[in-house]
Amino acid sequence: MSLKIVVLAKQVPDTRNVGKDAMKADGTVNRAALPAIYNPEDLNALEQALRLKDRFEGSTVTIVTMGPGRAAEIIRESLYRGADNGYLLTDRAFAGSDTLATSYALSCAIKNLPEVDVIVCGRQAIDGDTAQVGPQVAEKLGLPQITYAEEILDVKDGKITVKRRLERGVEVVEGKLPILITVNGSAPDCRPRHAKLVMKYHHAKTVTERQEQNDDYMFMFDKRPYLNITEWSVNDIQTDVNWLGLKGSPTKVKAIENVVFQAKESKRLAGKDSEIDELMKELIANHTIG
């Protein structure tokens, strides 16, 4: 049995290491000051997909990502680790999308692919932390979903068994294919790049990248079709523009503020015995403790 697997992956600014220069004076985020990385849980998802591919001969792993042109890096990174091909959804029309409009665009892209058995994606992206896109894509495609997967245990007779990690427990569930699965950060890390694959896909590019960079290797793209990363604009997938971008986003940002905390007037102590004793005495006296 072979499986057609799709991985939804996103390139995100690394919000885990937000330095002081990442915030502009007006309180907005200076995305340029943050390195762009592969969303961590999408890497966990990729690993689950690659394990299925290892197990079921003839399976393929296709990456779908939506973002600006540079998000093609995500696809190359996936190819280096064992994915077979990738699609970059990129268009101005997608700009300003909230999770629902994003899910709509991704679901249209998936419908544009030949049949799919399993869609895997990370539980959430670190730049939004909403965990909404997975379930919303599933709903738009009319597919069932299994969220918070820690391990895909088996696929047999058109059914997939998955171990889920919940806030307060674990579950093993079984669902019918085709299905969408979101993968938790507690799942195994993604395998590293494979040197051979890095060599093979080093020059993989989208059309736009090829046009932008005058590459000595231009001659290769016709001979080696696997080096072509497919780029899709709105016109390449069947969409209703009313559901895209700002228009297709029911949520609007009304205001953005910097987080400020009320500073308190504090008593400063150096930690001498007498000071600690005094502090404890005070806390006991005013019934904070005791």
Partner: protein, 339 residues
Amino acid sequence: MNNIIVYLEIEEGVVADVSLELLTKARSLASKLKCKLEALAIGSQLDGIGAQVFQYGVDKLYLADDARLYPYTSLPHTSVLVNLFKEEKPQIALMGATSIGRDLGPRVSSALFSGLTADCTALEIGDHEDKKEGKSYTDLLYQIRPAFGGNIVATIINPECRPQMATVREGVMKKEIFDANYKGEVVNLEVAKYVSDSDFVVSVIERHMEKSKSNLKSSPIIVAGGYGMGSKENFKLLEELASVLGGEVGASRAAVDAGFAEHDMQIGQTGVTVRPKLYIACGISGQIQHIAGMQESSIIIAINNDENAPINAISDYVITANVEDVVPKMIKYYKQNSK
């Protein structure tokens, strides 16, 4: 019609705290909007639910009672919400930002094309003017949440689509009984009208749920440790201090990530929110995401060897020293001087 609906999360017949916290918040929103507060329970053997929730000011309780609806699976619960919302057209729908709420909410919002804001830290009612379109809106739900890793807070609105949906984490809102004698109406939903057999495509084969071991949320005294504790071993010092003071031990995410403390001890934006009488922050730098979960503590003591640690700014007492020196002194004094 146009009321507020809260989805009740139920484990073994008990309504989750997060749902009761939401009912409390929703009660005050409903009073402000002069609409009714409704609650929806989906599961099996739901007879005891009314007694748990009416006192939070619930005017109407919908029950979808069917053996196949417990434990939770995504599609059948989604169908109940979607079909009920189509009939009742609530203006606001709230659920916990839990494993269940975060699985269910997006699915429902996608089916209804209604906006959903995850992990709100505050919910308010307010107006909005869209100058570009020349439209004005009254009594919208302001869904306030940290964004971009917690470095900013964003106010999100859904001007056009209903219901306005939001999820909120456990502990963020305060639960308070509204009226111990409050009585609402019970409406039993005919499950077959809401759920179809084809919704049961995912089944739970095995399930192990644990009750939360930590009592952080309700503890009046919290001793919290950060990465500056240096090791799991050193966390024992904090356990000792917490136990002599009658408090609980919490942790920063860096301490949890380093394996010094358990995940359910994490305090902050992506952990629990606490409001103790006394919060002792040991070796915690005080990044925004941590402070978001403990800033409402009445008294804050920071023990940190960096005199410029951000936590100091919001603390009542700043002890600039090593934790391993200070904490034993506190334990010693308290043991000797309390009755």
